[in-house]
């Protein structure tokens, strides 16, 4: 099925953004039950499952073209949103190969990869790109391979080198992040970059997650869902630009909160890379407003309960303090107290 792209969407200034019914129904709603706590919520990244977002290795949806344009704008204004340390060149090529092969396989109408030995030709029809290059020869591409390919993908990516029984964030393309900085975190180890997260260290989430990832196998990727909330459908909620988007948090009212406040979900995927033994971490960001999500009755009920009962330190860390009460009040109209089914699925086939 071909994707109906919405190339004119924007994620800043006038915020021209919405989700079609199809996009809402395939939204990776992150709550498996009516309460939320940090856990080692990792599962195999296999096709299928409770949301359409799990159907491809790298999910492409109606926002693809607009998101790639937004990424290009961020990079134009701040080139340090993409940084890769010099020893990660093999991992850069691994990433390019994985993304190209996956997109070509999952979306043959949109992407084609032709190989003649090391002579590769890549066609990206939605973005109008066709490039021939020699795999492994940096000079044959217009950009370094990691930046080249992640400019053509939705979501952020980081590259982790594995050494000393740890993972080090030694590269990344980070333009659609939930308030953390690649430039600041570059080179850090697993526990260091997770330093600011409350509660999770104390319940050993990071110790266990790291042990799991150190054993991640090539060919057996895994995934997890993470979430926060964002005012306006803004992708670039970076610390770098916090002075620009921070004031958005003061603009919510009981009248506009349903359209303005968005649930921000990250579909995080982890891949062992074949040549470098590095780990590629994909952080694919999905935004949907409260009004869009509550069209699914189960999700309206559940979002109300999760937000109402959220651990205060986690609520504070996610930046919801200023508006959480208003959001809970607003959502209460969608919660009739009925029980909800386990799992993340919407339980409806149309809206």
């Amino acid at each position: 099925m071909s994707i109906a792209y919405k190339p004119d969407e924007t994620f800043r200034d006038d915020f021209v953004y919405s989700n079609s019914d199809t996009a809402i129904l395939r939204f990776p709603f992150p709550f498996i039950e009516d309460e939320y706590m940090y856990s080692v919520n990792i599962e195999p990244h296999v096709r299928g499952g409770e949301t359409g977002a799990f159907e491809a290795v790298f999910d492409v949806d109606e926002h693809y073209i607009a998101e790639c344009r937004e990424r290009a704008m961020v990079l134009e204004q701040d080139p340090n949103r993409c940084m890769v340390l010099p020893h990660m060149m093999t991992a850069q090529w691994d990433t390019l190969e994985l993304i190209m092969e996956s997109l070509a396989e999952d979306y043959p109408e949109d992407f084609t990869l032709e190989k003649d030995g090391d002579a590769w030709t890549w066609t990206n029809r939605p973005l109008g790109i066709k490039d021939s290059f020699v795999f492994g020869d940096v000079d044959s591409l217009p950009l370094e391979p990691f930046e080249y390919i992640t400019r053509q993908a939705q979501g952020d990516f980081t590259l982790q080198d594995q050494r000393e029984n740890n993972l080090f964030m030694d590269g990344g393309m980070v333009t659609t992040q939930a308030d953390w900085s690649l430039e600041f975190d570059l080179g850090m180890s697993f526990h260091e970059w997770h330093g600011p997260v409350p509660v999770a260290h104390e319940i050993n989430v990071f110790d266990r997650a790291l042990q799991y990832l150190l054993r991640l196998q090539y060919g057996n990727p895994v995934r997890r869902l993470n979430w926060t909330m964002t005012v306006n459908p803004r992708l670039d909620t970076s610390p770098e630009n916090y002075p620009i988007w921070g004031p958005d948090r003061t603009t919510l009212t009981p009248e506009n909160i349903g359209g303005k406040l968005h649930l921000r979900v990250e579909l995080q995927t982890l891949f062992r890379l074949p040549r470098s033994n590095a780990i590629l971490f994909g952080i694919r960001c999905y935004l949907a407003s409260l009004d869009e999500l509550t069209r699914v009755p189960k999700w309206g009920r559940r979002l109300h309960r999760v937000l109402r009962d959220l651990h205060p330190e986690i609520a504070e860390y996610k930046g919801t303090t200023r508006y959480r009460e208003m959001a809970v009040d607003y959502l209460s109209q969608f919660d009739d107290g009925e029980p909800t089914s386990p799992g993340i699925g919407p339980d409806v086939e149309s809206l």
Partner: protein, 190 residues
């Protein structure tokens, strides 16, 4: 509690090493930086800062044990050269302010030293170097919870998140959401 903020402990003499160099950003090696039973004379060389512009460190490696430098930067220049010449069995120890320690550590990592081959212990000022996440300027010697960025002038809240690569703590504009809404400023990193 920040997991990126380094912790330090008193320096002990690593018996698996053959040559031991201790560097300090003060005029004397501070005794309180050393573990019980360890004294400055146990190190093969001691590099310190004289703090005047005529200081001349000894030139030959190992010819004298005490070398005095004009400043931290003067010491670091010599250290980077020395590290390039050292071989297996060399152990490096640094005491002083946090900013100095991570300059030393980075110089050592560049030449492939790691793990227990370098020991650091923070003594003296707890002042922080603060990286402005907005304009990328580092403000030095910060002793307060909130500081005006030396680059863009934003009122930065000093986080407990430390980058070894940048040798700095993260700072973000404390009143970004409501300009002018600045909490009380307190001196907490003396």
């Amino acid at each position: 509690m920040s997991k990126s903020r380094p912790t330090y402990s008193p320096l002990y003499l690593d018996k698996t090493g053959k040559r031991h160099l201790i560097v300090s950003d003060t005029a004397e090696i501070p005794a309180e930086a050393l573990a019980d039973g360890v004294t400055p004379d146990m190190f093969d060389e001691r590099w310190t800062i004289a703090g005047h512009s005529k200081a001349i460190p000894g030139t030959e490696r190992g010819a004298v044990a005490d070398h005095e430098f004009r400043s931290m930067n003067h010491l670091l220049i010599a250290l980077r050269r020395r590290l390039g010449e050292e071989k297996m069995g060399f152990r490096l120890y640094a005491v002083g302010a946090e900013g100095f320690l991570w300059e030393v550590r980075t110089a050592a990592v560049v030449v492939g030293m790691g793990g227990g081959e370098v020991q650091l212990n923070q003594v003296g000022s707890q002042a922080r170097r603060v990286f402005c996440n907005h304009c990328r300027t580092i403000t030095e010697g910060v002793t307060t919870n909130i500081v005006e960025c030396a680059g863009c002038g934003a009122n930065l809240f000093v986080r407990d998140h430390f980058s070894r690569r940048l040798n700095a703590f993260a700072g973000f504009q404390v009143d970004a959401e409501e300009p002018g809404d600045i909490p009380e400023i307190e001196e907490i990193y003396r």
